[in-house]
Symmetry: C2
């Protein structure tokens, strides 16, 4: 999902071979392998600290944070790498106090996938929906009805 909406890569805390396999498969067929990196990490907190030490910005998406609308202009102006943190389960309180921004995609409970999608759409101002991956094997030709997929190259 993150790949389709403009993220440059993903860090996955803990082993999730099913998720990694499905990302690899999507990248092989639909492109982006030179562009989209997948890495398994054991300690998300170390990653956050390292990211900040190197001058990057860390953003935790949470329904308890400040509305994204209030911050998106500021975030769009940063020219350093952004690390976006979402949790599929309860996120340790450490993150709330050790990231640069806690941002809410609305203050209602919602899927972290939905939050990440809307965040990336706002950050990239919708341009990510027009991305073409040069190394894809297949390409969709948009249709009013039905499906049309062609081989690339």
């Amino acid at each position: 999902m993150a790949r389709a909406f403009g993220a440059k890569g993903v860090f996955i805390e803990g082993e999730d071979t099913h998720l990694i396999d499905s990302i690899k498969k999507a990248t092989e067929v639909w492109g982006g392998s030179s562009y989209f990196k997948v890495e398994t990490i054991s300690d998300g907190k170390s990653l956050v600290s390292q990211w900040r030490n190197k001058g990057g910005i860390t953003i935790h998406l949470t329904m308890y944070g400040i509305n994204v609308c209030e911050k998106i202009k500021e975030l769009s102006s940063f020219e350093v790498p952004l690390l976006i943190i979402v949790g599929s389960e309860k996120v340790d309180s450490w993150y709330y106090h050790n990231v640069d921004f806690n941002l809410a995609i609305g203050n209602q409970p919602h899927s972290e996938i939905a939050a990440l999608a809307i965040f990336l759409d706002r950050l990239y101002k919708g341009l990510e929906l027009h991305y073409i991956f040069e190394d894809s094997k297949l390409r969709v030709i948009p249709q009013e009805a039905g499906k049309k997929v062609v081989k690339n190259g």
Copy 2:
């Protein structure tokens, strides 16, 4: 998720008691019960046909469709109820030929949750992120760091 981002209700094809329970729980605590309807249906195709017969518009979100950017202005102008169709698995080809619009939130494979989130965000022009449900038991007070939740009323 749909509830948090402005949908007025959801039809679920087939029995999914886990999903229905989790929606009910969210609505009880976070509000929207008078507003957000959940209904289980056995035949999604009949629903699409009935919806259209009553003058409503049906929209299927699919990576094979026309880019949402090209249609969102037209869709925002409709004053009839919109039925948005997403499939968690392979969607029967019938839908591609019997809905009013097949729309792509980008022509890359992605989560249907992500697609629905971005679609609603575009349709409601971001206003859905400020919704307050009057009947909620709890309410989040947005914080720069940490969590603050208060009882309503």
